[in-house]
């Protein structure tokens, strides 16, 4: 299967997706202009959740440490800007992507040594170690105060990053669309199919002669690039990088978002993070502790009654509806 036929096959669906995303972005821009920086944050986290979906949903590697990749991208972009004077936002994003991919490579070498529970624990150890390192080497990272002094230059020399976050909002939307379409292609490609086969039965894939370990590492690197992009985007948009971008809590929350939306489904990652973060945003202004109780109950209910997440729930409802309509 060559690349052109791949593009053609999903072309119509991709066009619809792009149209829906652009429409939503325009609606959000015009009707909630005071929330633009919040939307940008959602998109940065969406990239992280998409990255987790690649390894957990599609390749079957359980991880609770993906914030290490997101944080690596955020800190790399931040350090490049604050310490080396690389202020061009595109360059910053590239630095974030490379750093995320490198961190993905490193952590995959550790995480792939375990299975099941030990895999989870190794991934947690990786993110905790990264966090400790960022906390200790405070001359580079700012430690627990966070890394400040990031001032990105105008995008393409034309658009300044303004106070309302309009530039970073449109930058985020564009990045999300490009990443999403690229990931759709990767998922549809023979490589993507191989990853899904590994999730279902690694022993059989190995018996058929396909490289299991190498494929997993590759997917982890791709996932790292996506997560690193998310981190770099947050560094460009918020102009600070804090230790919270490198925490176990962020990893766990991102996995929660993924499961809420539905795993092994790129739309699920988007919907899950949007719903979760919107819910958190509204509820935590009312009472942060009740928010935690409610999100806990929601999580239990989702895992209990809709193990395939919101998108899975929608799919089965739709299927039932269709069945009723054609009876």
């Amino acid at each position: 299967m060559n690349t052109i036929s791949l593009w053609r096959r999903g072309f119509k669906g991709d066009l619809i997706t792009i149209a829906v995303m652009v429409t939503l972005a325009v609606i959000c821009f015009h009707f909630m202009p005071s929330n633009l920086s919040f939307f940008t944050r959602i998109i940065a986290i969406m990239l992280l959740v998409l990255a987790i979906d690649l390894v957990t949903g599609f390749t079957g590697i359980a991880t609770l440490g993906h914030a290490a990749l997101y944080g690596a991208g955020a800190y790399a972009a931040g350090i490049a800007a604050a310490k080396f004077g690389i202020n061009d936002p595109v360059l910053m994003l590239l630095v974030g992507i490379v750093a995320g991919a490198l961190m993905g490579l490193l952590s995959s070498l550790v995480i792939l040594r375990g299975h099941g529970l030990s895999q989870l624990v190794l991934s947690i150890a990786v993110v905790q170690l990264a966090r400790e390192a960022a906390n200790r080497f405070s001359t580079w990272t700012g430690g627990s105060d966070g890394l400040a002094g990031i001032s990105p230059a105008p995008l393409f020399g034309m658009w300044r990053f303004d106070l309302w976050g309009r530039t970073s909002y449109w930058l985020a939307v564009a990045l999300l669309i490009v990443t999403f379409i690229t990931l759709r292609q990767i998922i549809r490609s023979p490589f993507g199919k191989l990853c899904q086969a590994i999730r279902q039965d690694p022993v059989r894939v190995r018996a058929m002669g396909a490289p299991v370990y190498l494929t997993q590492v590759k997917m982890y690197v791709i996932s790292g690039a996506v997560a690193g992009l998310g981190g770099a985007l947050s560094a460009v948009a918020t102009k600070v990088v804090g230790l919270d971008s490198l925490s176990f809590e962020l990893s766990a929350e991102a996995v929660v978002m993924l499961v809420l939306g539905g795993t092994a489904n790129l739309y699920g990652a988007l919907i899950g993070s949007a719903v979760f973060m919107w819910f958190e945003h509204t509820m935590s202004t009312i009472n942060p502790y009740h928010w935690l109780t409610i999100v806990g109950a929601l999580l239990v209910a989702i895992v209990l009654f809709a193990p395939r997440g919101l998108t899975g729930l929608a799919e089965s409802l739709w299927a039932r509806l269709m069945k009723g309509a054609f009876k």
Binding site: T56, A62, L64, V110, R113, G114, H115, G116, L117, S118, L120, V121, L122, I124, A125, V126, Q128, L129, E132, A133, R136, F248, E249, A252, V255, V256, V259, Y289, H290, W291, L292, T293, I294, V295, G296, A297, L298, L299, V300, V303, L304, P307
Partner: protein, 287 residues
Amino acid sequence: MQTIFSIGADALAYGMVLFVISIGLSVTMGLMKFVNLAHGAFAMLGGYIASYATQSLGWHFGFALLAAVALCMILAVPLERFLYRRFYGASELRQVLMTIGLTFMMIGIANWLMGPTLKTIALPPSLQGPVDIGFRSFPAHKIFAAAVGLITALGLWLLIERTFFGVKLRAAVDDAKMAEALGIRTKAVYAISFALAIGLAAMGGVVGAQLLPIEPQYALHHMVTFLVVVCVGGAGSIGGALAACLILGMVKTTGAYLWPEFGNFFFYLAVIAIVSMLPNGLMGRAK
């Protein structure tokens, strides 16, 4: 020399507290194949009950400890029956998420009911003072915690390896269908084991409260540590958990004494080294 003894004594106390709390998790994870991340939340709940009983009701520490264990075990039964039982045999990720959700709920409720402040448990006079152990004086409650840990390890080993209940539990774990065919009520065995594990968590929370203080974020803060202990030791192995607690306690205490600014760095480095070399833990059974 003095420093080495001091590090050893502190490491032992810290390790044994970790052991008391984590051994229940090791039982649920190794024998029942359930990743119960809410384990720390039950330890926290036990701590809150004991704190309330000693501070507000004026109970003796011993009664408070018993009350905490009993109440948590009573709570564990319906939870096991209506929630946990549905996830036996489910994927690790689903179990993790369900129990993280439960932990979030318990943190939220604890904060709502008890407030965000630190809660202390009143110790009886016999556990308050320092005890001279030759080369330095050492807090009595730490010796108490270490003793409780050792007794728990021994008792649990006897229960699992030497009693008829232990035989039934191991049979139910190895082959549930066959065990049931032989007349073992596997559901009851699981329920009792789960309640036992929760009781151990509550006891650990109360006994270890001086080292791991009781506050609403307790469950989340220490969740990772307990999970790490079980994984390093090998799930379901009492000896492994004991060894893991002592090693990790040693690494952490030594790090805190000699390179305080690097705190947890060595801890997680050791975890990665051990788990990547021995994916089943120090004494875990191969899957």
